[in-house]
């Protein structure tokens, strides 16, 4: 299948003939193989794993996924390759997430997503 990762600024990543992609869908990790059912779902913060054996990892703070006739499009506002995730960047992201959790008028979903982001970032730092 062809995988496109698109951000508002540019097409971040595009590659053909990828056997499998693992995405952090909102209802749990989801592996997408060739000829998957057409599906639209959205992502919680986490790792996108591309490939089966030789993997490429990207970290996203959330996004939308659209799969149809072996085209997988991942739309996300923010995505980072592992090299881009310096300690400074991680701190910046977690500060922002923390602020969101403290906001009074945030919806439950926002708070849940922000906490997930914080957890994921912590896991990254341990690595």
């Amino acid at each position: 299948m062809q995988v496109d990762i698109i951000t508002p600024e540019k097409i971040f990543f595009t590659k053909k003939n990828i056997p499998m992609v693992t995405i952090p869908a909102i209802e749990g990790q989801m592996g997408v193989l060739d000829d998957h059912l057409p599906i639209i779902t959205f992502l919680k913060p986490g790792m996108i794993k591309i490939g089966e054996k030789e993997n490429q990892y990207f970290f996203t703070t959330g996004g939308v996924v659209d799969f149809k006739s072996n085209f997988l499009s991942i739309l996300c506002q923010e995505i980072y390759s592992l090299e881009d995730l310096s300690d400074k960047k991680i701190k910046e992201l977690s500060d922002r997430a923390k602020k969101k959790t403290e906001k009074i008028n945030s919806s439950d979903k926002d708070i849940f997503l922000s906490f997930t982001l914080l957890d994921e970032l912590k896991a990254l730092q341990v690595k």
Binding site: P38, T41, D66, Q77
Partner: protein, 293 residues
Amino acid sequence: MPSLKDLRNRITSVKSTQKITKAMKMVAAAKLRKAQENAEKGRAYSDKMKRIVNNLKKNITENTSAPKLLVGTGKGDTILCIVMTADRGLCGGFNTNIVKKSKEYFDEIINSNKKLKIITVGSKGNDQLKRIYKDYIIKKISYKNIKNISINEASELTSQVIDMYYKDEFDVCTIFYNKFKSVISQEPQAQQIIPVEGLEQNNDDEQIKEQYEFEPDETEILEYLLPQNITTQIYKAFLENAASEQGSRMSAMDNATRNAGDLIDKLTINYNRSRQAVITKELIEIISGAESL
């Protein structure tokens, strides 16, 4: 009749003006290329987003459970207008065109006894609008100090707008910006972003409809997606506006440079003519002086 020295001074001053406009044109051309590139790169995201929202919208059958952002509040009493202009002038009719377009719309709203609220983005639009619509402007935003407008600015604006929407402060939201068509033509646009509008219903899309699976259900995805969609729309407007501004400035400065060139030619002819007149006059004086001896 201006003296020779006056003419000379004017020529030099026009020449230096021409140098400035030429430089500005060059800068605008360089910036335009980048802005255009950005606008094109951003198109992939907004197109895709539009298609997904389209698909979701078609699958929603019950209007009652649908998110408010999609179907609206059911009334249209208060209208929020976001007018996007540049922070800098000297770009031809760029700012004026947007303001003109928005003024027409404002008058329509006021005449039909609806409530109007205005947010201005960019200081030039604010300057032009505050004279007449001062009482309606509830917020002014300027990105003068930010070099490259990123998605973060757009999402900040969106979250403010959505907050207001949920507080029932307005029912309909429209943005005004210049759509970039080409370097010489930009079109002022009014686009309604809340409730979501302008999703075309093509017959080709009908076939896609039933094939999709949604996880979780459509309504929940839409709730998550619609604010993002609005951010995308606003961001797209930012990008289009940035490209239009540079394009507009480029052609304005090109015109100015050419006008300055014309003016210099005219002044030079005048200068030479009066120089010759002076010489002729002196000759006549000498000759008639010699004759009278």
